[in-house]
């Protein structure tokens, strides 16, 4: 992506988001008491103001994109295997969703151990043994600190409970 295409894409995205906010999101998800006489004091005033300014910033980005000189120079560093990179990103998303689902069931320590190992192997680590050792030690040390020093009630899960 060049600087010009980024400016244009962001500008169009900001305008669409602003239209969605003003026409759909704010009327649906922002509630205001019916007896507010002055719009300035209404809970709707600030979101509508921000939605309008977002649209103006979007239009300015589009204008700036058109004024930007044409170049072929990409802004992001090129990558050798874009298909695998996308797969790894999907993998990271799956790990995060799985972490959220497992946290209340397995508990924070065991979930974090699995999360650590999964991320390290997703990164294709050159130190697999060290990664597994760290995956066990780091969550345990953090558990000891947060649970026993800071007094935080770390989720324990339904299966194996730690002292």
């Amino acid at each position: 992506m060049t600087n010009r295409s980024i400016q244009l894409q962001l500008g169009i995205g900001a305008c669409i988001a602003a239209v969605f906010l003003v026409l759909a999101a704010i009327p649906t998800w922002v509630s205001a008491p019916s007896n507010v006489s002055n719009i300035i004091l209404s809970p709707l005033f600030w979101p509508y103001t921000l939605g309008t300014i977002t649209a103006l910033v979007g239009l300015a980005l589009i204008a700036a994109g058109f004024r930007e000189p044409e170049t072929d120079e990409p802004l992001n560093e090129p990558i050798e295997d874009p298909q695998n990179a996308w797969l790894r990103l999907v993998g990271a998303a799956i790990i995060m969703v799985a972490t959220m689902l497992l946290l209340p069931r397995l508990g924070m320590v065991w979930t974090c151990m699995l999360c650590f190992v999964a991320m390290a192997f997703l990164y294709r680590t050159r130190h697999p043994v060290a990664a597994v050792i760290c995956a066990v030690i780091v969550p345990l040390v953090l558990y000891a600190f947060f649970a026993h020093v800071a007094g935080v009630a770390i989720p324990q899960g339904h299966f194996v409970r730690l002292p």
């Binding site: 205001a32 979101p47 390290a120 990664a131």
Partner: protein
Amino acid sequence: MSFTDSLMAGLSVVGHIEAFLALAVGVAIGVIGGAIPGMSATMAVALTLPFTFSMQPITGILLLLGVYKGGIFGGSIPAILIKTPGTPASSATILDGYPMAEKGEAGRALGMALWASCTADVISNLSLIVFAGWLASFALSFGPPEFFTLILFSLTIIAGVSGDSLLRGALSAMLGLLLATVGLDLVYGTNRFTFGDPNLMGGLNFIAVLIGLFAIPEVLAMAWHPTAHLGKARSLGNEWVTFADYRRCFKSIVRGSLIGVFMGSIPGIGAAPSAFLSYSEARRNSPNKLNFGKGEVEGVAASEAGNNGVAGATLIPLLALGVPGDVITAIIIGAFMIHGLQPGPMMFVLNVDIIYGLFIGLIVSSIFLFFIGSAAIRGFKYVADIPKRILMPAVLVLCIYGVYAVNNNIFDVGVMFVMGWVGYFMMRYHIPAAPFLIAFILGPLLEDNFRQAMLMSGSNWTILFRGPITWFFWAATALTVIAIVRLAMSNTRNRRLVGNAGDDS
């Protein structure tokens, strides 16, 4: 009582080993607490508070002040080494600290952070002692219209941290302001973008947003390109900060310290906006302004001076008026009350020995910070030697624990993950994250003070121009906006000239 008598009375209460030991232990706890992402100086102070109950008042309060001071500096260590601010105050340190670590100059960045922190700390403490009464009376005359204009002026900081594109910075700020509206309405208590979920009624957790925006995108960028870091130096490096570096940055350090003193003396502003304003001013005035954001040591110095300059100054409203300047001083005021002390004007009459004892302790804390901070840098340097493909999963796990610990809420971990993806998208599209964060912090304050001013005046706009303080901030905002627009236009013109020259050749 003369100044000498007051000083002697102060010495009599702190002139024993327990007081100084408590201060040193406090600084050490603070540095460690601040250096653990998600723990924060606030949490460290809150955790230390119960240990002070059985101590002498001055010893317990000095312990807490040591934790506070150490925590603010400690936050810069992970900000520089792993791009994860240990405290919100060190968010601005990332902008140049992390690029320096990437270049193999982490030692130099950490050294400058320490030197700037200690200098700012001394200036802030001296300001507290000299200007306490005057600055407190000035801040006392601030009402909602004055706060509104001050925060509006503070939002112009965004221009200084927007990087290459002012418009992309503005878009980032709009996103931050919009997300800050999530939760119950400040005046009427009605729902705004809560989708019926009670977890969203209090708004998005600031720490979850902060860590999600700064740390998780690095974890995701590693998944996109796991070998991108190979061949790039990421150790402390052999280069250490020199006196020549310090002399070159001295002006920015003093300027940042004074910004910190001013911002800190006004309740509710906090260290993060001060750090960003100091950074922005240093960038505007520096001959190396083009190097800012790419690993400029002056950027680290300015950010750290800005956030440490606040530490002493937040005690000005606390001691002189009994008004806490930020969350941490609100916890510390609890320690005063537990020991039967009531901060405020009467404390300068009834407990002058404790006031001057605190002043002496604060001056000594800067010296402790220098030595304990140096040791901490050497201890934490090993973080830089850990293979990045093991460090990043460890950072992720640390973020999960840290974000959960703030409110004991798994929902916050989810907010952090979502904000991480937003941050990664912003990174790919070269949208700077710092304006988002500043807007997210200042957004609720801006709206709250605006609506309070309107309520006070019956929706009469003229209240926003009611006196010299508001006029001053309106003029400062207008001048800054004109300067920003002129600079942006000249940058665009230069880019187009360079582009045309490239086409011709």
